[in-house]
Symmetry: C2
Subunit: 376 residues, 2 copies
Amino acid sequence: MSSYRFCLERGGRDGPRAGRLVMPHGEIPTPAFMPCASRAVVRACAPDDLASVGVETMVCNTHHLRLRPGADVVASLGGLHAFMAWSGPLATDSGGYQAFSLAGPGAVSEDGVKLRSPVDGSLVFLSPEESVRAQEALGADVAVALDLCSPYPVTHDQAREHVQQTLRWAERCRAAHRREDQWLWGVVQGSVHADLREFSARETAALGFTGFGVGGLSVGESRGEMLAALEVAVAHLPPEAPRWVMGVGTPRDLVECVLRGADLCDCVLPTRMARHGSVLGRDGALKIGNAEYRTDPRPLDDECDCPACRLYSRAYLHHLFRLEEAAGWRLLSLHNLRYYARLIERIRGAVAEGTLQDLLAELPAWTRRDLEGAEE
Amino acid sequence: MSSYRFCLERGGRDGPRAGRLVMPHGEIPTPAFMPCASRAVVRACAPDDLASVGVETMVCNTHHLRLRPGADVVASLGGLHAFMAWSGPLATDSGGYQAFSLAGPGAVSEDGVKLRSPVDGSLVFLSPEESVRAQEALGADVAVALDLCSPYPVTHDQAREHVQQTLRWAERCRAAHRREDQWLWGVVQGSVHADLREFSARETAALGFTGFGVGGLSVGESRGEMLAALEVAVAHLPPEAPRWVMGVGTPRDLVECVLRGADLCDCVLPTRMARHGSVLGRDGALKIGNAEYRTDPRPLDDECDCPACRLYSRAYLHHLFRLEEAAGWRLLSLHNLRYYARLIERIRGAVAEGTLQDLLAELPAWTRRDLEGAEE
């Protein structure tokens, strides 16, 4: 039997689902959320901090880690799990998203993609085979085939090109992948074009993948467009396979995606918001840097059990934030990660009880305006 | 009976001593070391981190906290202990040292001192009475009378002026101090001039203080000059009173000071070194940013029980340091604080056994050269 599998326990092709992802480094219930440890660290937090706030798994960035410290360096140290001293499941992305955000025009060819190095700004080449080789060296439980993320907006012709390129690379990744203790997932692209999302989902599934990323979302399109694209993609993926909605999103986005069949989401939002002083709570985002919190003795959230809420006042966290103190970024990050972890627990409960729409109605309006200051 | 007292259990006027400082927020054995939580936070570390690495007490900075968040703000939140969620003893300095490091020429008058604000660069005035008032509002266990620290080098005439000014301010501080649950200590100055150190010690003691800081050390003079000045000062202080050697120092300095009768030391060194990647260990300072550690799977120190050593490799800490990651600063700071805490335990043991000279011989040579990169 394979060292990884997905057990779908509730739901089917469409709508909310629940299950278990069984992976070489452990089993997690779904739906699940993965914080981003892009450079093998969730920013400002040590890996041992994370389990204490209910983090179950993380996603690391292949492009960043391949350059620093280097995939072979990580492999020589026993892989990402040993390197980070994290015993639970991990995923790596393909590095393809960085083609979208870091590379210039003309950077993509049939062979692969030229990416901008975040270390020294030079251009480095990434082929499908090299993406797989690097991810095998990193050794996460879930690896992802190299994909090409369409920018937004994009013409239908361009988006079709990106889908077809992603399919050709996916095939090469399947052929290159060797590790039997690592699960290689294919990625659906197609921007907001329904026919392309359907085509991408069908053809990626036809390549034989047993797990799927839905990529190219939350890159500038409206929430309505994003959710419509997701709906089409999942409608044409095998229901028994897990679906990771990549790079999404806000607390409301999480619920919306699970309503449409997502099993896994990842996003930098909780920790990025924390570094900008946006604290997640029942009533929306509290901006801890605001003057009103300077003398506020209350915890961030009196129902939260994270270290920031158990031990410190808003006034102290305001003070640390105004000092631009690393200790403050960490405490606020742990709070926001705890918020996401508790939200995922509530989402699981609501899936079981069929009350996900009610949960959505209870959440504050996480519009882009709500997140002002949290966006890069 | 007073809520604070010093119980001297071993030693006398000169040489190594051991005892207990009993304070409103707890009792600590001496000799003791106080990390600097200048802005009510040991940089990069949360207060709850500190007890776990053996920190027993801390010193906060009156000048900084008076301006941000404000002494009255801290008082309204229940004082520094409640603000920081730290239940153990705390000390505050007088703000006087900042006259040395922050103020310009002509900033000192009989009334007090003009200090540069670290918040907005403006000049703010601090009188002896205001220093006491702010420290009473902050509410640490130990407060310090406003002193004037001589720069180095300084003429005998100037240093005598600074001593006499410090004495006149000390008298005003004694008169202004009201809190019975707070211990007000006087400060000995006099630079490297033996006759002035003697005069300052005798006259400060004559004012009736029952605890003493020895200030104006480690400001540029040689280690030999520093230790000679300390020797003269303690020889003329009442043996039954505790002595805090302020702003000193390296691990070797700690032992040297205890050899000469110090009960308490404080220094930013362990955390400042950590932020510069200097890791304290048996063999001296390990520079974690060096390329040799990129692939080193060993802990920083295989005999250390801090979180960094228990959980992570040099390779991972090297990675975090090279990323300039706040998580790395914290872990390295906790390690260095643990080193100091264990060193102080060894110092106490050596005082009890009369083997402090042997301990000094075992320590690596913490010369200024050893600390390259750790100095500001």
